[in-house]
Every structure is written in structure tokens, then in C-alpha cells.
Symmetry: C2
Subunit: 241 residues, 2 copies
Amino acid sequence: MSNPTAAMIVIGDEILSGRTQDTNSNHLAQQLTLLGIDLKEIRVVSDDERQIIHAVNALRMKYTNVFTSGGIGPTHDDITADCIAKALGVSIDVRADARAALAENYKNPEIELTEVRLRMARIPDGATLIDNPISKAPGFSIENVHVMAGVPAIFRAMLAGLLPNLVSGTIIQSKTVNVKLKEGDIAKKLGVIANENPDVAIGSYPYYDDGVFGCNLVVRSADAVMLENVTALIRKAFTSD
Amino acid sequence: MSNPTAAMIVIGDEILSGRTQDTNSNHLAQQLTLLGIDLKEIRVVSDDERQIIHAVNALRMKYTNVFTSGGIGPTHDDITADCIAKALGVSIDVRADARAALAENYKNPEIELTEVRLRMARIPDGATLIDNPISKAPGFSIENVHVMAGVPAIFRAMLAGLLPNLVSGTIIQSKTVNVKLKEGDIAKKLGVIANENPDVAIGSYPYYDDGVFGCNLVVRSADAVMLENVTALIRKAFTSD
């Protein structure tokens, strides 16, 4: 049986303007790899209703899980929750459980839970809350779409609570062989090894560092013995180790 | 007249497995912002023919420019050039000018330009080469699709040569005001300011750092006076500066 799959949607103009380097998708990728959930696609879109709805609907039909980060705060540019509700065709309103979670943050919630703060308790109908241990305003899962905050520390905390609830798959293990040669020097022999071992994925990731070319050859497989054998073949072919 | 637009396609399993943090799209975003070209979408896809072709065709119809990074080396997993040719419905073969560029890298090109290395001189019919001052193997532009290497130093060098050829737009300037308050404390008044100044874009980017919440309010406009005025309004409303 093949592994569950996933896509990530990063929502935020600040990524597209280059102001902020997105790190949430890299963190998600690493966590999903540990669970055997195959991340197939990442999309970064702007804080724009049409773009968000289009991406959510394209990806939730295609993959087992869709994760989003960004746009669930209280300010005017936070439109993710409303877009998700529209994408799924459900209503959205302040919900008692989300309001209660949010209230934990305040000494006098009756006064401090202002109208704008209550925007963070707006949850699409039928969603399950995702706990936010840091700033309390919850994320939510609806069908296969998991909606989380953009602030990296909060995204990570939400994800840590969410992941144990997801169906995991067969963990793909990997080994990396560093080769201090140009790709052109190894491509032919590497192609033969890749061809003769179709059940193992071999990726070549070249780098250029301080005037020196090299590449990392990454071998991936769910089968530990096969992984070990092909890695040994590659090591023997291209390194003096 | 509205600005030219752009999308980025990052090609590589190593990003989706979490092994590598993509930095090319952040660099591209910063460079495009300086030119007034609006980056609208980033997609990360795997080294998979169907996914690459789908992304290229979806985005080249939608945006003025499409940039790709990754998958143009000599190894078996480098399939980008062939996918671009398929996406655009043109043929692809080793081209004399690309071969000549590649040959500059070798003392004895007749011997060293092996069959696998010549894979890097395969260029879709009708494309223009993009110079690679570092490792010589060229990128290429075909119609509005610009195909570059994944190695960050090479991607940046190729981009630097390419950008002066593109049509630029009106540069959107921005100012950032750091506010040491939670978003919930400013959202209402900020919403009013945003509403009263519809020609200026105001984004709120919250952060959480060492137990402290704050946000950066980013004001964007092509009009320097408006930018200054709204920034001053925001500064007055939320800071003691």
C-alpha cells in the first residue's frame, strides 16, 4: 500500500515579497518524513481570497492531507479561516470552544476578549480545533485540511499536537554519501546503479562551495537491507572511504 | 498600468523531504521586488515529469514570467529541460551554442565532453541561453519560462544575468514599524487605518520571540508621500517613538 500524501500551502505576502524566509514548510517536510507521509507539493500564495481558495480546492482533492500556515490572527489581513470556509462551502462563526480556549489568555476575558480578538475564535462549521499552547488562539482541521498559524514557534507547537492524530505510512529511510567530484564525473556510472536498482530512489544534489564542486548522493528506501547495499555500492564507486 | 507578474517553480525532492531548505525563491522574491515585478506564487514540486509539466503549464499561462530552479544537471534525476520541452510542445537536442559554452569548462573538451555531460547542452528548440559564469552549463529562457540551476550560487549568478532583460514595473516601496504589542491590541485601530487608506497595503506580521509577542507592520506603496504619511500614522498610533 502506498503512503499517505500531503501538500502544504504557505499563505502570506511577506514570503512573496522576500521580506521573510519561509521555514514552516521545511519543518513540516522533516516531520512528515519521520512519519512516512509523503509531502508532494508546497505552494506559497498571497493573502488573496481567490488564490487561497483555488489552492485549497486544488490540493485537498489530490492529497491525503493539506496543511496551511499563516493568516489566522486578528488583523484585517488575516483571511485564511474565512477562505477555508468558502472553499469547503460551510458557514463560519465564533464558536464556544474556540472562545473558551482564547479566553485562557486573559485575566478579564469579558473585557479583554474584544470583537477583533474574537475574530480568532471564528471556526468553520464542522472543524476540530488544533491546540495552541503558546498564544491560545486555536488552529483547526476540517476534512483533510489542517489550518495553523504562521509564526514559526506557534506553527511547530500546533503541528506537534496534530501529527499524532494522522495516519502514518512506511518510513522511507535515507543515507547520504558525500562525493567530492563534479556530477559529470559520476553521472554515467550513477545512472547504471540507479537503473539496476529501481526500488531504491537515488538523488544527486550538487553543491558549489568556496570554489569547490561536489555532490551529495541521497539513497532512499523503506527496505533497510537494500538501502545499505546500494549505499555501499555508491560509496565504493565514488569515494575512497 | 499594473506591474508584470511572476511565479517560481522549485523542482526537487530534496526540498520536499526536508533535507534542504530552499533559499532560491527568497532570493528571487527580493530581486523581483527591487524591479517592480510582482511575485504571485511559488510552487515546490518533486522530480516528477507529470508534476513539473502541470506546474509549468498552469503558471506560464497565468503570469508574465515563470522562473524554475533545479534539475538541469547531468545525472539521471535531472529531467527539467526535457519536461519544459514537453510542456511547450517543442523538440529538444544538444545545441551547438550550449555545447560551446559547456566546452569552456574543459581543457580537452573532445575527451571530457562525455555523453552524460552533453546532457547539459540539451536545449529546447527556440530557447535563448542564460549564461552560467560559474560552471558554464547554461540555463535557458523559452517564451516566458526561465530555467535555472538549483545550486544557490549558480542560480543567483544566472538570475543576475537574466534580470536586466526583463520588463520591470513600478517599484513598490515599503516601511516597517515594529510594535511591541500583541496583534489583538492593535487590530481594531489598524483596521480603521487600512480601511481609510485603501491605496496603501498594510500587512501585520506577528512574531513570538523568547516569550515576547510583537508584530511588524509593513506599509507598501508605489507613492512615497502616501507611504510616509501612513507610516507616520501607524507609528503615532502604536509606538512611543
